[in-house]
Point group: D2
Chain length 377, copies 4
């Protein structure tokens, strides 16, 4: 991190700003090559338990928008690769998993839709209609992260394949090449003003897209099972990355307040700043311990068995991260809201995480339901 | 608002997106002409007390980034016009106040600097060195709002004119035409990813800029007096605009949750959403009452006499606005963080207000000092 | 207050501590006589609007557990007197209102019951069964404030008179003399360890108590109408008293921190203490403005028309008071939690107010319902 | 717990209420005998590490005011016993440690004083003046927990023995038998209305009390070293007990809301109640993980080396406990603030812990100082 990542964060930002915004950067490609050569590649599948991999996510999260890709550990690719590994056919693995593992292509995960309350996944309307021995996909997805990237070659799309099945058996997941006729990137969306180029959050249109049965990931009607298996570890990854971002923000805050003088004293002498620092330390350490415990629970009981601790970190950690980043922003003054330091961008990502991938409200419901049912971890 | 403003918000956004971003929009120019014709122009100086004008700020704040300029009531122009009216020479009024009042030019207010803790204004380093019968200005300012706009013709610059004077007599304010040799827009800054084009937050360089004595606003060494007179009413304006933005966010939130269904019920039936709505209503109404009381205090006692209530609203109102906007964003799901609705942009502006124009920490100090000294309103 | 109330607070506490706890104190009786003589008696009915009376409640609330009774303005007596004035028969007025107005007796209001969720008033089970030309009352009530006092001569009891009537016409209010056969003070309850002697919060048993039709207050089935009319102004009184308690706590906090030195500096120099002071000032002033606005709304639209602002203050003000009192307690160190200063006792009363007289949850529901229905104040 | 403790909580409360309040209860004495017989005695010194003992504190804390004494594990006795074990002379151990370990006597720890800001321990004024070959102790202490108990036979008193020594070498700790001439229990104090009989929080007067050199615990001037050694593990014990109290409160809350119906639905169906439950679970689990980590740090690095995590739990855990208890109180309605269930009493104890044993403000300063100095755990 100190040798290759931190010193190149500015290079990365500059390449994006000076390029077309939507092209891969030379610095990432060059660092990817180096990481691969040095054996720091696909760290999520080098045989570590989730509890062991989690601290690596924290380290990569310290450079939130940049480092994970360097090690081929960025969302949504890791989750997609895990799904393909577990549920994919040999053909699917050959065609998509291999180049993803190699870092040659990227991928998207298309679940949320603009016109329904996606917090309830059964609202998903994109339709997979039977057509001959395959399907026709019709619908619109948004906040498909990474799908603004020209290297994004394939999307995993959650769509409704059977209206008459039981409520959690109505949806299926299909692999849709971005080059399929009828697939269109309608636009890219912003998150608090950030377009997150070159990855981007895309709104995709699927207009009469032909999908073969061989593109199904898992069985027809098994969409929620596949999605759930994907989300548990993914939430641990997200949370640990945010912990890394928060930890670095606190370091940055401490350095800043030691160096700025107002009204005759360094800011680090101010009681409210010192209280902020103490509260940030308390918040980060609690969040990390909770997330590591959740990771160990996934290792021990699987994603389904660990859904209570996973729901807990999904509520607690992004909130902690927004709190810590907010305090660090405040301590940096006007620079804090600008792009000169990465705090505001990380804040926006942390804040969005309280909505995307299940809003706090839904996760709290999960926790309460299990608590009232007497489940203990 | 219903006839001319709300229906044109999209037009405004589209013109900016499709133009060069940094050009004035046709829609604003056309609405300005209409407002002028209809006598809804320069509302801040049509003889209303601050207590009477405040509700108009709230109304204009409902369309936060768009409406104020239509009525020639946007920051920093209103504050600059008030300063020129009160402290300007006849020549200054003729040259700058007249076209500002007419909406032909815009202006900037350059106080914060990138390399010092600007929360303590005595840290300001930009230097006005005596040179013949005038000065030479050297320094760097940032977050000069509106200075990204090509119509921005002049900046009021706070600079240090005498190192040996008493601490609050060391600074002066000068009028610097943006066309002066040595003035350069170094770059525009973002606020949580927003560039706020076409106005923008600029970083300005002043490199050996010649400034005549006739460009002084108020006496040499009177910079803080002039700035203080400017800031009191300006903070009431800012706060009322944020209250308008919050009020509209709550309306938008109520409409949204009535129309979205999750898990078989409209979101408006959910207890936590309903609690959010109630808390937003409580927070907005308290903030409005406090701000109107502060406005009446300024009317009765002047900006200096009302500095305690002004400091109170400066802490309370942007915090209320970030809270209400945050809850509205959450209720809108992923749309809330996007640019499809103006909540995230308004949130960013409200959050920045907790730093710009004096961070919360400084205003709380003011309140505490006066409270401990036994001052009652 | 400065001459007669504050200097006698200790006398009052000592008389209670040294007496039987459950006897009226000589100091209150003597001050009542003086207040009556000086025309400071029954201030709630000297022709003031609620908006005008509210500031008097704040003043009396500065000595929360002591002053209101001195001026015959304490709960639940004021509410009961207002009910009798408005709904009582001539005979009821002669028998109960006159001695209450004269301060010779006290009264209770018996609504909450121990075995049901009293937040939903339709849960009330105490039964008024028809019996000849009158009724028999059977049931159990608790948190009947003031009913521990030996002077408490009568209770207004809410009971179910008709199971088959529409949901809000099933209950009636009856006047039950405490001396009636079958009425028993089962015990007095504590609130965070305080018994609030000599008034007390009593649990009352009504065992086959004969109630004549002449004891009905208002019509049979009109219980909720009478209760609602009582609660609106009563909530304004409660809130203003808590504002008085909070205001005095802040004064006490400021005095304390100026006088204590830790680590070489007075506590008043500490940034977090100063921030607490500023936040308390902001919170108090907002709460007061909101409550005065609610009082004016009641004056203009009646208790029913003003139920939204009333619900708002019922949520906002006790919460503000617990916050301010908590900060004042913290600033006083160990003394803050003790009985040496009245902060902890006032906190307990403020905290209980978030449950009694309708929990926050119910009032937030009221606000949300009206907000979603588009009601504006 | 299920067989002997929970079923006897009411017995304990009844014995105190019906006895003189200030006498030991038969139920505790009988359970102590049983615990001793069953080998569940002095659990803090049966060879467990602090990390191993901590969960036992949690279990005992589930019955916060009752269970710890049954197992001879209650504060301040455990801390005093540890101090005597580590710093006591053989004679001191024989005279005081042996009967404490045997549960025949109890003890107090006298540090805080009423007239100074005790958050800064160097403010302590009680004076140990040299007199012949011993000392004379003069001073006043308060919040000496347990010293209201007639079995309290001895107090460890922190007093100033040398004004001219370096700031942290001016104080010494002496063992003062409660029966010494000149020792007087001036009064017992309340904590939010609770007198915590029969233990009590006493204010003690020491008026010309003769203290021999053999009564010194540790060397003269070593008072802070001894106190610090005592406080580290003690804070872990306190925190774990509060976690037990919070955990039980959450269970109680879940049971309550399943059983109460309002407005046609059980309270457990209400969104805000469910959100409260989820937030309580998140808060408790984070606090427990943090406290266990702090306990392990004490095991690994000693109390001094672990002062950062200890300061962190001292801030985080009592705050968590007040939050959880507050939400449980709210869910119980009026019963929650009463003595019918132990929530309000536990809340008061948790709240007091944010002041006693070092206020939050002091512990946050410790954390910030170490964080700014770059210390990592």
């Amino acid at each position: 991190m100190h040798e290759h990542i931190y010193p190149n964060e500015c290079t990365y930002a500059r390449e994006i700003a000076e390029g077309s915004r939507w092209e891969p950067t030379a610095i990432v490609e060059s660092l990817k090559a180096r990481a691969k050569r040095d054996g720091l590649w696909n760290l999520f599948r080098i045989g570590l338990t989730l509890g062991e991999y989690a601290p690596l996510c924290e380290t990569m999260g310290r450079s939130l928008g940049f480092a994970p890709e360097v090690f081929n550990c960025s969302a949504p690719d890791t989750g997609n690769m895990e799904v393909l590994e577990r549920f994919g056919t040999d053909e699917q693995k050959r065609q998509w998993l291999a180049p993803l593992l190699d870092g040659r292509i990227r991928s998207g995960f298309a679940m949320s839709e603009p016109d329904v309350a996606s917090s309830d996944a059964t609202n998903i309307r994109a339709a997979l209609a039977r057509d001959g021995d395959g399907y026709v996909l019709q619908g619109r997805k948004w906040f498909v992260s990474g799908a603004g990237d020209p290297r994004c070659a394939v999307a995993l799309v959650v769509a409704r394949s059977d209206d008459r099945a039981p409520r959690h058996r109505q949806h299926s997941i299909v692999l849709v090449p971005m080059s399929s006729p009828g697939v269109r990137v309608h636009r890219t969306l912003t998150v608090f003003g950030y377009d997150h180029a070159p990855h981007g959050h895309a709104e995709l249109e699927f207009d009469d897209v032909r999908v073969g049965r061989s593109q199904l990931v898992g069985p027809e009607g098994g969409g929620f099972d596949v999605a759930q298996a994907r989300l548990g570890p993914g939430r641990v990854h997200h949370c640990m990355r945010l912990i890394g971002a928060a930890e670095r923000a606190l370091e940055s805050m401490c350095a800043r307040v030691k160096g700025r003088v107002a009204f005759g004293r360094p800011l680090s002498d101010r009681g409210t700043i010192r209280a902020d620092i103490a509260e940030c330390r308390i918040a980060i350490d609690q969040a990390r311990l909770l997330t590591l415990a959740a990771a160990r629970a996934v290792d021990a009981k699987g994603a389904k068995g660990a859904r209570k601790p996973i729901a807990m970190i999904k509520v607690a950690v992004p909130r902690m991260a927004t709190f810590v980043l907010d305090r660090a922003i405040q301590a940096h003054g006007a620079a804090g809201v600008s792009a000169d330091i990465p705090l505001a961008a990380a804040w926006a990502q942390a804040r969005a995480t309280r909505i995307l991938d299940g809003p706090d409200e839904v996760h709290r419901e999960t926790i309460a339901k299990l608590e009232l049912a007497g489940e203990t971890e």
